[in-house]
Amino acid sequence: MSQSSLRKIVIVGGTSAMAQHCARLWVQAAPAHLVLAVRNAARAQTAAADLKVRSPGSTIEVVETDFLDSQGIAAFAEQVSRGGVPDIVLIAHGSLPDQATCQTDLNECRDALEVNGVSPVLFAEAFAGKMQQAGRGTLALIGSVAGDRGRKSNYAYGAAKGMVTRYAQGLQHRLAASKVNIVLIKPGPTATPMTAKLSSQGVAMASVEEVAHSIVTGIDAGKPVIYAPAKWAVIMMIIRHLPRFVFNKMNI
């Protein structure tokens, strides 16, 4: 199969556990041309080799990118869209900050807001225009249930993910008349290396395979909002609607 006939899938944050499991599902379903945008190419090479074993017919490209450099993000979008706009862009990078540190160290707080909020929306904006022009493609962003309502235990992360949520809504509105799909994914707590600390505190976690499966099937279906696992849609609806006097008494 020639490269041009393969589905082109771009994953920003291609070494995250969630992204890697999505990538596995995609290449195992059908060979694809995958572009992994990463901060550290060495770790990404192990992921690329893994995908190549799983799907020898796929091509895996690793691109090292600065996630916070707006010029670099624009250049990256330009470069990977040459020869055709991607069929799918999944923006999956992020890092879970320690809330207490964010409250005492403003540098830490800014970093958390930038990498989890500003950076994903810049990537989304960079690709949205190209997809709109081409009139096709699916742009998926990984938000979080944490973005649905600010909680004392992680509102720095939650605020950044809330920004992703609003931005995705705006893009959905803007592109409603086009054939471009904007998909916002809101995973609940998922067992990945990013959340290893939470899990050691006894927080119940969904498996990353299960969440990746929800993401991939949701993207294929072009759903505007995916809670993964689905039960979080109900839980967060309740949390969002709790009156403040009740919510503020909760230790969450």
């Binding site: 074993v53 290893a196 050691s200």
Partner: protein, 432 residues
């Protein structure tokens, strides 16, 4: 600290669980200052996968394939890859693991560390026989590559070494050609141990897979169901779609108990007796029937359960197995998942590897405290007298003397231990 229990759910202990995301992150996480232990899927039944109060390195993040050569079938992968994922990826391409245990929800590292066996031991030996190379990471920072022809002493210590020689980071496995995902299987009821041994002898030459379920409650004569299978080429057929189920909670008492066991076993025997003869079965249904019932170990209630798996040498296999079954029937303790199988004429290449020639009997017992433990003492006596051994991956209670008599290569093994690694079992059976 998180509570972690082994598959037998006898007890849960606090552990400091650390999860490397890939093999590049692993070396930095191993430090010799605190005693740790690699932990995969937690399918060992007893205490070989626990390190109460200490560190567990959760290895399932090391789930990447590294390289596969489609011409030779050599697969290089990280140690946290599940056997299930290897099978599901490579069987459609005509390659499979040579040896799979009763559950495929175990990691490659765990399969090596316990030198697991399957229903084809008489044909292909145990898991370690198909490992070509592995990379061992020691807590002092050393990396040791070993295999049957490279640092063979390290390899022999690590295969079946219960994770005590270092952390297995990656492994190269020799897969083998198979025609597809399907097996031709045959079930034959038998009415006595003698019949079982005749069936085993007859089947070993022509059937790759043999195993039997035995009704350990039928006194006197021991009835059971002998199952044998070979790979078969029926072309590419879709795998049967059967949803998996889960035991959603732990019942307050064991569902396997004095009231349920007899009817369970009788019903199981009589239902399956009618399914005798040749059938075509998908490999997952034949090899891993319990994998679709998640958390089946909860069925034994809050006190958990023990497994008792022994192997006794061929010369005394018939008598020793008979004596064990009599002791069980007399004790009134019972087992539903009772499996009897003959091993082939080869030993594990591991210094502490379990498989050796003879007959292996695996039994599960709900934990009823002293009553269960006193039965085990009787069984230990029979196994020791026969010159047999007990499988550490299943064990939570064997006395040190029983371990030492079963594993004469223990003194040879001890110098290869990593001083920064310890398990509840190693402290119980090796003193540290």
């Amino acid at each position: 600290m998180v509570k972690v229990c082994a598959w037998g759910r006898l007890d849960a202990f606090d552990h400091d669980v650390r999860a490397p995301a890939d093999r590049l992150m692993l070396p930095a996480m191993l430090d010799a200052s605190s005693s740790g232990l690699a932990f995969g899927m937690g399918r060992s039944y007893g205490d070989s996968c626990l390190n109460p109060g200490g560190v567990l390195w959760k290895m399932t993040g090391l789930d990447r394939f590294i390289r596969f050569d489609d011409a030779t079938g050599l697969l290089h992968c990280e140690a946290g890859v599940l056997l299930r994922d290897i099978q599901r990826l490579f069987i459609p391409r005509g390659w499979a693991l040579a040896v799979v245990p009763g559950t495929q929800l175990v990691t490659v590292g765990g399969a090596i560390a316990n030198d697991i066996h399957g229903k084809n031991h008489h044909a292909l030996g145990s898991f370690g026989d198909h490992v070509r190379r592995l990379e061992l990471r020691r807590t002092d920072g050393q990396a040791i590559e070993c295999g049957p022809e490279l640092n063979a002493d390290w390899f022999a210590a690590t295969v079946g070494g219960m994770g005590l020689t270092g952390v297995i980071a990656t492994a190269q496995l020799q897969l083998r050609r198979i025609p597809g995902a399907w097996l031709q299987t045959e079930t034959i009821p038998y009415a006595s141990l003698d019949e079982f041994f005749v069936l085993s002898d007859e089947s070993e030459a022509d059937w790759e897979h043999t195993v039997s379920w035995i009704d350990c409650l039928s006194k006197g004569s021991h009835r059971g169901l002998f199952m044998r299978a070979n790979s078969v080429d029926i072309g590419a057929q879709p795998a049967p779609v059967g949803g998996s189920k889960s035991m959603p909670f732990t019942p307050p008492v064991s569902l396997v108990n004095g009231l349920s066991l007899k009817p369970f076993n009788a019903a199981y025997f009589n239902l399956n007796k009618r399914k005798t003869g040749l059938r075509t079965q998908h490999y997952e249904a034949f090899f891993h029937p319990l994998d679709n019932l998640h958390h089946w170990n909860r069925m034994y209630g809050p006190k958990g359960f023990y497994q008792y798996q022994s192997v006794v040498p061929p010369g005394v296999a018939r008598d020793a197995t008979g004596a064990m079954l009599e002791a069980i029937a007399e004790s009134g303790e019972g087992s539903f998942l009772a499996v009897l199988k003959t091993f082939g004429n080869r030993r594990s290449i591991g210094m502490l590897g379990f498989p050796e020639p003879g007959a292996t009997l695996a039994l599960d017992f709900p934990n009823r405290g002293d009553r269960t433990l006193s039965l085990f003492k009787r069984l230990d006596a029979i196994v020791c007298e026969a010159g047999g051994r007990i499988y550490p991956a299943k064990d939570a209670r064997m006395p040190r003397a029983v371990f030492e008599s079963g594993y004469p290569r223990l003194p040879e093994f001890l110098p290869f231990r990593d001083p920064g690694i310890s398990s509840a079992m190693s402290r119980r059976l090796m003193g540290s």
